[in-house]
Amino acid sequence: VSRRARILVVDDEDTTRLLISGILEQAGYRVVSAADGEAALLAIEAERPALITLDLWMPGVDGWEILDWLAQRAWRPPVLVVSGISARQRVERLGRADVDYLEKPFTIDELLRRCERLLAERSAPTSDDGR
């Protein structure tokens, strides 16, 4: 998996978005970020990220709606949900192979490992492979 892959970081909290972006950038990924759900939908279309890290609780279009929206699309990047323990069961109940869950607090190693694995397992056919 290329560390040059593009990752979209979605979180409405500036400091958390900067922190996760900073970790991924330093690990060699290209990072784009979105501070709310609407911006995230636009960025998915425009940037075609190889992976999304997703905050669930946001005002406006929230993380759950983004997951639903992605489910209906033929091309979709895998998603790493980064959230508190309370959302674990609900995410697991979705039963989607391309949606993983990382509980806060997490270690930097664990975050990077999960990202790598999702990028490696990316099974959904993509219109994006040749780029």
């Binding site: 909290e13 958390t16 900067l18 922190l19 970790i23 330093q26 690990a27 607090p105 930097i108």
Partner: protein, 301 residues
């Protein structure tokens, strides 16, 4: 173990007896330096390191408890043991209250007792110092805590005022500290705080007063430094923090505000802290606004 003893005693006979009994001790080795005046004691204290001061209160250049007070100013960090000619409990107690560690009556030295008394005085003093330091220092970073800062910085500020030099106060706050705690855990948050403390130590002089005031808030008081130096210092601090980025694996930055006390003003520390705090928030907001603007522009492209 060897202990350095500064014996301040003008009576040669008393001094010799004291030295001989200590020389026979099996408790520890004592190296005794004798002087017969306070003025001379000041010179010796400047030249060499001692572990304890043994003091006769009646000297050619000073008498009574005043001698003790003056010896204290000469050797503020050392335990002082009083040699007295009279076995008077009330006098001994007064000496203790004036800051002596203990007192011994001349001529009544049981051989190893004197050595033990000295040894214990040194140890008691050490424990006392440690307990005192604990209430003034932040246990996580080793910098001063708020109380220590208010105490030490206040004295530095008054000193600067007398010397007619400016003082610079910096107020610092770790950017996104809550996010570090929430996402990477409190242990990582603590690590971030110690990294900031280390960066401060490497950036500022040993004579500057460094403190963690609370949570993720730090302060520095640098005397003799004018406003011009604030900018370069902040840049150096940021660079030092960034050097450790590779190992840390995430960006760690601080927002800084400053306040200067010019030699002509009389400033209170509280006032300076408030001004620097306000300046820090303005700087932080300005940076956040700039980042938001940049992000918005990037989206428009």
């Amino acid at each position: 173990v060897t202990f350095g003893v500064l014996l301040i005693e003008d009576n040669l006979g008393d001094a010799r007896m004291f030295e001989e009994i200590l020389a026979d001790s099996t408790v520890a080795r004592f190296v005794v330096t004798r002087v017969d005046r306070l003025a001379e004691a000041a010179n010796r204290l400047a030249e060499a390191r001692f572990d304890v001061v043994v003091l006769d209160l009646n000297l050619p250049d000073s008498r009574g408890l005043d001698t003790l007070r003056r010896a204290h100013t000469l050797a503020p960090g050392l335990p002082i043991l009083i040699l007295t000619g009279t076995d008077d409990d009330a006098y001994g107690l007064a000496a203790l209250r004036a800051g002596a560690q203990d007192y011994v009556v001349k001529g009544r030295y049981a051989p190893d007792r004197l050595a033990v008394t000295l040894r214990f005085a040194i140890e008691r003093h050490r424990l006392l110092q440690a307990a005192r330091a604990e209430t003034l220092l932040d246990s996580l970073t080793g910098l001063y805590n708020r109380r220590g800062f208010l105490d030490v910085a206040e004295r530095q500020l008054r000193h600067a005022e007398r010397a007619g030099v400016p003082a610079l106060l910096l107020f610092l706050d770790v950017d996104g500290f809550k996010a570090i705690n929430d996402n990477l855990g409190h242990a990582h948050g603590d690590l971030a705080l110690t990294e900031v403390a280390d960066a401060l130590r490497r950036t500022f002089r040993g004579t500057d007063v460094l403190a963690r005031l609370a949570g993720d808030e730090f302060a520095v008081l640098s005397t003799g430094a004018g406003p011009a130096i604030a900018g370069p210092l902040v840049t150096r601090l940021a660079a030092t923090l960034d050097q450790a980025r590779e190992r840390r694996r995430y960006p760690l930055t601080v927002s800084v505000g400053s306040a200067v006390c010019e030699p002509v003003e009389r400033c209170s520390l509280e006032q300076l802290l408030e001004r620097a705090d306000r300046d820090m928030y303005e700087n932080k907001r300005r940076r956040q606004d700039a980042a938001a603007l940049e992000a918005a522009e990037r989206r428009r492209e």
